[in-house]
Structure formats: structure tokens, C-alpha cells
Symmetry: C2
Subunit: 250 residues, 2 copies
């Protein structure tokens, strides 16, 4: 978030051909339910573009005139407080959409979005999307489900912030990065810097350091961005990640 370009224009936009856009839309998991005809109609109102690190995609309070979908890279969504500081609400990667509820409701944007790792994105024209949804009930279903999933993520985050300590939230996050399903140990890399990680977890950087120190006793070894989890089972017991929560509440 350090040297962000204070510009609203996307870097290296390429209004690629329809096939490229169609392929990009097909890659988006939450659009899977759409029939071929609707997907092609959606292609006609979308474009694919690249945005460099630091690019400001959109700002809180602006009209929400386009829906973004992340194809690759990473985008932070933030909301600003009175004293000028921003809360990093979420760090999004492939598949995530930005601004869905605002675009559908025709209300101003709730969050600012900034590229934190060079990204490729889809932009869907907002007004055309509303018009297309009015004609295509299957698209409405898909959009409402995506919006409900976004809502669910926020509810889970509110719970996370209310029920868990910073160290537990860090443990949940590290476990979410771990692809390991069978072994009890794994090595991973933090996908973004510790300043952004602290902001995403909702703590100061010194508290993040303290949280890493607390996790050392649970077999979490760190060397800069490289992290080794020596005892996944124990860390899981300590953090109670949402997949375990899902099991219990199901």
C-alpha cells in the first residue's frame, strides 16, 4: 500500500477480443451456473484489463458504475475513518468481485479498491449489468447468490473479530494459506507484507509481532515472509478455523 499511484486510470488496459473476455468469465467460479447465451451477453458488456501494483481501481463514495472481478493478482478493499486512517476490510484474490452490492443497488461505492499485487481484472459495465439482469432471471439468481456469499464473508469476519484474539485470527489466516491436507507440517509464504497483514487482521504491527511470538509455542516458525507450521493439528485446535466451525454448526 506504500507507493500507491493516486490515479483512477487503469494501467495497461487492453480491450481484448470477445473470446478473451468469454474465457475470463468462464474462469469465474460464481458465474458457473450461467447458460451460454447469458454468458455471451455478459461478454458484450465486459472487458479484461491489467492493473499494476498501487493502482486505485475505485474510491469509496463514487458512483458504482462498474463491477470488478479479480482474475489474478491481489486487491485490497478499504473503508476510511474520520481520522484519515483506512481499515483494510479484505484482501481479495482470484474469483472475488468488487462492488457487487453497490452496483446492483445503484448506490455509491462503500469501499476503495487498490491493487496490491499486479492483477488482471474483468470490468462489467454497471448499468448494462442491471439491464441484462432485468431480462435474464438466471443472471439475477447468480448475482444474488454471489452477494449473499459476500455478506457471509463479512458476517464471518465480524464473528472472527468479536470472538478471537489477534493470535487466533493470525492462526486462522496461516491455516487458510496451508494447502496441506494430510501431513501435520507445511511451509508457506505470506502473500503480502506484514503491514498489510496487520491491517487485514485489524491490529497494529507491534501486535502482529506479538501474535507471531505467541504462535511460536504452537510450532509456528517465521523467517521474514516464509512460515513453517510444525504442528497443524495443534494450531487448528488453538484457532478453531471456520471449516471446523462449519462442521460444528452444520
Amino acid at each position: 500500500m506504500a507507493s500507491a499511484a493516486q490515479s483512477n486510470t487503469v494501467v495497461g488496459a487492453d480491450y481484448g477480443d470477445a473470446q478473451q473476455v468469454l474465457d475470463a468469465l468462464r474462469m469465474t467460479p460464481w458465474l458457473k451456473g450461467l447458460d451460454e447465451k447469458t454468458l455471451r451477453a455478459l461478454t458484450g458488456i465486459s472487458r479484461v484489463f491489467r492493473a499494476a501494483e498501487g493502482t486505485l481501481l475505485c474510491e469509496e463514495g463514487e458512483p458504482a458504475d462498474e463491477l470488478f472481478i479479480v482474475l489474478d493478482g491481489q486487491v485490497a478493499v478499504l473503508a476510511q475513518a474520520a481520522n484519515g486512517t483506512s481499515a483494510v476490510v479484505e484482501v481479495l484474490d482470484a474469483g472475488a468481485s468488487i462492488g457487487l452490492s453497490s452496483v446492483l443497488a445503484g448506490l455509491p461505492r462503500l469501499m476503495t479498491a487498490r491493487v496490491v499485487r499486479s492483477s488482471r481484472l474483468i470490468s462489467v459495465d454497471g448499468q448494462s449489468l442491471q439491464a441484462l439482469a432485468a431480462r435474464e432471471p438466471s443472471l439475477v439468481t447468480v448475482l444474488l447468490r454471489a452477494e449473499a456469499e459476500d455478506f457471509k464473508s463479512l458476517v464471518q469476519q465480524v464473528c472472527d473479530l468479536k470472538l478471537r484474539t489477534t493470535a487466533q485470527r493470525l492462526a486462522v489466516y496461516l491455516l487458510s494459506l496451508s494447502p496441506e491436507k494430510t501431513s501435520n507440517t507445511t511451509a508457506l509464504r505470506l502473500p503480502f507484507d506484514k503491514r498489510l497483514l496487520a491491517a487485514r487482521l485489524g491490529c497494529r504491527q507491534e501486535n502482529l509481532s506479538r501474535a507471531f511470538a505467541a504462535l511460536r509455542n504452537l510450532g509456528v516458525e517465521t523467517h521474514g515472509a516464509r512460515v513453517i507450521l510444525h504442528d497443524i493439528a495443534r494450531l487448528r485446535d488453538y484457532a478453531l478455523p471456520d471449516e471446523a466451525m462449519d462442521k460444528v454448526t452444520a
Copy 2:
């Protein structure tokens, strides 16, 4: 939340006449935009009922087959964690809806809702609402706006939890209860007990006591549920409530 009835049935449901339901729908601020015809169609798929303190209106994970709207009273919405504890996501009062995103998307409920102060509610049949929305674009607009507002509340709460201390969050809450717009002092009553207040703020009860103690220096005097704010301006500076935030970010 202590002696909640572990029952799914509403207490004293009265399937009142159409006029009562229509009046209740007219009282709901976010339905204001609806034309008379749509409002009458909505009346046909709604009922008004009373629910006593402790009533479990719905549970997380259940099919979202009805939308609730609070007419008066108070309802807590909660989400459960693996260790059996629940986070109070929000305490809702008149005008709020419960389960909108789940009902519209046809997905299982994200949250449990429990009446914390004897309430009167509207229940709208979920499937009929979806069918009506498919025929009435004006209803879709109203529902999407309400959903975006729900989304906004959650984003604001995430920011609140990430950027503010417990004492600041308490101050924001106390200021939100204050009807005083001109004078610098006011007296108010906490609308629910301190256990629920701690849960809503996302802290332990001992931290809530500490937060009240911290606010004493800022002119906050407490006698049980009765609270006197002696210096609203100073408290506001300390807490930076969202209305100030809105002004700055607008």
C-alpha cells in the same frame, strides 16, 4: 439471552387482517419507495405477529423461508463459533430486516435470531417474495437497496472493530443512543443489559467495565442502566462516530 425459550414457534402469533399488515408495511422505512399496487401484493404474502422475550425466530443453517421485519422491540442476530460461543453480530430494532440476503438468494440462513425485548414483527413468505420480485422490478430495486444497506452496516462494523478500541466503540454506541442535538449533555438508558452490550461490542464483560471506567474521564457517568453524558463534544472527538466519518469521507 439468559433464559431463552428453545422453541421455534412464535408466541402469540396473530394472522391479523390485511389492513393491519398493510399499515405495518407502510411503517417500514426501506419499503417507502414501493407503489400502492406492489405494497398490496406484499400484504398478501405477509403476516404480523408478536414474539415474547427469548423467542428463537430462526436458526443459522436452516432454510431461509421467511423474511422478518422488526416493527418494535429488539432482536439479536448471532452467529455461532466452534467452541459453542456465539457472537452477537447486531442488535436490531424497528425497521430492520432479518435474513434478506439468504431469502433472496435461496441459501441457508447465516444467522440465528432471538428476541431480546418483546417484539412485533412482520413475516414475509420467502418463496412468494422471490416470485413477486420476479414480476415487480420496483420491488427488486427496493430489496437490493435494503440489502446494500445491510452490507454497509457490516462493513462499518468491520471498520469499527479494526480501527477502534473497545472504549471508543462504547463511546460511539452511547452517542448513537443520544437524541441530544443541541445541548452538550444528555441522560439516557441502556436499552439492553451489559452482558448483551459486551457481546455486541465484541468484548468480555470485564473489558466493558474497563471501557466504562476509561470513559469516566470524558464525562460519562453510569448508574446501572442509566448513563449521563456530561460532555458530548469531547466524547465525540474521542470516538469519531460514523456520522463524523461520513462527513469527512463524503
